[in-house]
Subunit: 206 residues, 2 copies
DNA sequence: AACTGTGAAGAGTTTCACAGCG
DNA sequence: CGCTGTGAAACTCTTCACAGTT
């Protein structure tokens, strides 16, 4: 029945993170707003999309809120994740504990360079990209992370989509072309730096 | 006189990237829209904030457009960048060529672990965080990249701000608290994964 | 004829302000 | 009294549709 606005979905993970330090307590929208660095009316509106879980005059029960947000974000089950492109960034992500922050399990690491096959990163062996399709079906990858160079990213995305993935996190510096129904999120260092640059330039000028 | 809307600023780097393959050509808003995967009216409106650089009946001169966008983004000068936190991710970024994609120069790598001091990454030695302030003033760091664990991020941010930085790219999984006038951009793997999760869950349900 | 530049309509988002509840 | 939940106002962003230019 729902229809949580995209802007709210973007903020839910932030609230979740802020709430972690307040387990077993009660928190007001005002306090949570401070932590998440947003306006308190926004917090209340965002949380109201999940249902009415606050108590007037008191605030929100943190444990309950954490549960509701997690449920809404689909974090009550584990999603199998694969990473393609075991260069610097891919390797760093594979070793990074951040996935384990509940809800995600890295079940596959792939590269196209035969010299890397069999090497272990974070306890898991790098496999050949040629075996991707089989692995994807067997391990039911839900989210594909692309950390290849720009030139290889589209091909990898096509492969992921062909194997049935509908959710892609793209770290490669290029815009992927994908069919409807596939959700691509871009995480792009140079884009972010360029935006920093804009506001920096703005500051010194004018 | 300006006032480019934030939504437009976010897209300018994308256009810039897409235009790279079309140097010395002319491009229509329709074509650029396809490449950047947005609506063509949006492209025209975005570009109109830079001024009227298109030619009706023809399109935009790519070289000129690249120049105008670069200028608007403040990419005509190089910004000195420093990275604090030489773990997996920080090291990967230090090695990553992405900075060089014009406009950014990594002029400092810092960590608080003495065992790392002096180690070279991407041709540059890791320095002690204790020397940050001196280095920041000498090398005039404009952008600080934080790749420390969550627990250290706020302290590092405070230090950057004390040293005069006003632009921070935060990869640590936490919300930083900073004074007005400091621009923080978050790049957060688990947030992105959680958003993926939301849309995945949505898909299978309903 | 082809394409830009832009007013105006429409959609989405934020913020205010306060009624309503505990 | 304090804090949530929410209509309504304000603002921002997107998209349409077409006049204007080459």
């Amino acid at each position: 029945m729902k229809g949580i606005p995209p802007a709210t979905v973007q903020r839910l993970p932030i609230y979740l993170r802020c709430l972690n330090d307040y387990r077993a307590q009660t928190i007001s929208s005002e306090r949570l707003a401070q932590l998440a660095r947003v306006n308190s009316a926004k917090v209340r509106k965002d949380l109201s999309f999940l249902g009415s879980y606050g108590t007037r005059g008191v605030g929100y029960d943190v444990d309950h809120l954490v549960y509701q947000i997690s449920r809404e974000l689909g974090l009550t089950k584990d999603w199998p994740v694969c990473i393609v492109g075991m260069g610097n960034l891919g390797s760093a992500l594979a070793r990074y504990g951040g996935f384990g922050e509940r809800g995600f399990e890295v079940l596959g690491l792939f590269d196209s360079d035969p010299r890397k096959f069999g090497k272990k990163i974070g306890g898991r062996e790098i496999e050949s990209l040629a075996d991707f399709d089989t692995a994807a079906r067997e391990r039911e990858f839900a989210i594909g992370v692309i950390t290849t160079p720009a030139g290889a990213a589209q091909e990898v995305a096509d492969r992921m989509i062909a194997a049935g993935l509908t959710s892609i996190l793209n770290f490669a510096p290029m815009v992927l072309s994908v069919p409807d129904g596939v959700d691509v999120r871009r995480v792009d260092l140079s884009t972010e730096l360029q935006i920093c640059s804009f506001y920096l330039a703005r500051q010194t000028a004018s």
